[in-house]
Symmetry: C2
Subunit: 205 residues, 2 copies
């Protein structure tokens, strides 16, 4: 896994480091203020001030206020997990296992868990954030379509494939909503399993 010298990810040292720091500082400040005063009552200026950057900088890092909440570093994990599934495996099994793997990965990092939980609480309470989540899930759908289409040699636009993905993501959405509605107390993996069982067996209940 040696990297070529000119990676597009880690360009030049100090600059990139500071950027990541700023990004984190903004997120941290935002989460703190959201927790203290609520999402709507927190102005972007306040977040900027708390993070010790200018308002313009906040918008340079996050295109919208909702994006401060939803950064979505899970997509690459899901994609990698799905690509790692054996070629012969039926799509639903592959997707199910990839989702399980993603949950496992997230749970392996305590701070990641904390972040996800904070995020989900905002998803529940703030409609705008929820809307943004749906949008990002749609993007995830496009991504999954690409990967699954490549696996089976079909077109990523084929209706049957998209329906399959749409149904699965719709189910996943309900899992997340159910989870957060009950105060994140349930075991996410179990909820996911129950949901995927519904999809696998027969949807006719």
């Amino acid at each position: 896994m040696s990297r070529p010298p000119a990676e597009p990810t880690a360009r030049t040292g100090l600059r990139e480091l500071k950027k990541q720091r700023t990004r984190r500082a903004i997120r941290r400040a935002a989460y703190r203020l959201f927790g203290e005063q609520g999402y709507d009552a927190t102005r972007v200026d306040q977040i900027a001030e708390a993070a010790e950057v200018s308002t313009s900088t906040v918008f340079r890092y996050f295109p919208t206020k909702e994006d401060i909440v939803l950064t979505d570093e899970d997509d690459p994990v899901l994609e990698a997990a799905l690509r790692a599934r054996p070629a012969g495996e039926p799509p639903l099994t592959a997707l199910r296992e990839a989702l399980r793997e993603t949950v496992r990965t997230v749970y392996a990092s305590p701070e990641w868990v904390a972040e996800v939980e904070q995020r989900m609480r905002l998803v529940r309470s703030v409609p705008a954030v929820r809307a943004r989540l749906d949008e990002s899930m749609a993007a995830t759908g496009d991504l999954l379509a690409e990967v699954l289409a490549a696996r089976t040699g079909r077109s990523p636009d084929e209706l049957e494939l998209r329906v399959f993905i749409g149904a699965t993501l719709g189910a996943l959405r309900e899992v997340l909503m159910h989870w957060v509605a009950r105060g994140l107390r349930d075991d996410l993996m179990s909820l996911l399993d129950r949901a995927m069982d519904v999809l696998e067996h027969d949807l006719a209940d």
Copy 2:
């Protein structure tokens, strides 16, 4: 089906009539301007002016600009169709038939078709409108949960039930997106059938 005299829907004559007229005028003006200049380039002031009302009035009728596009009169149709299904019928069949019935109803009215098509075009091109559609589909999900829970004597919050609904609506969303992506040329009913077949058979393809 005779109605009690004091319906909350049609309160008093002239007032209500004018309201409906204003509502329509705003929508008509908005659709026209959106078509001519695009959604983003159309300011709410312009819509107000074209509809010959004040800007405040526009916001009194529609809480957001996106809501001018999405009014969703289909929900009651869907609900009625679902309630009309025989009690013994398995949920997926009932929901499938209810959806078919809804599509049929919409297609029975040419102007309704025109409206839906215009709406869908904006859903495709404007992210904000699409987000609003997702939100309204979530609300539809809550509605369906109530009705289906009542049918089977279960709780509307039960995960399995919500997953079932979420998956179906996810599939429906893909149908709509597929339909609009191909310029609304396909037969919507056929697309719906193909999608429901995917859900019914096995999602494993």
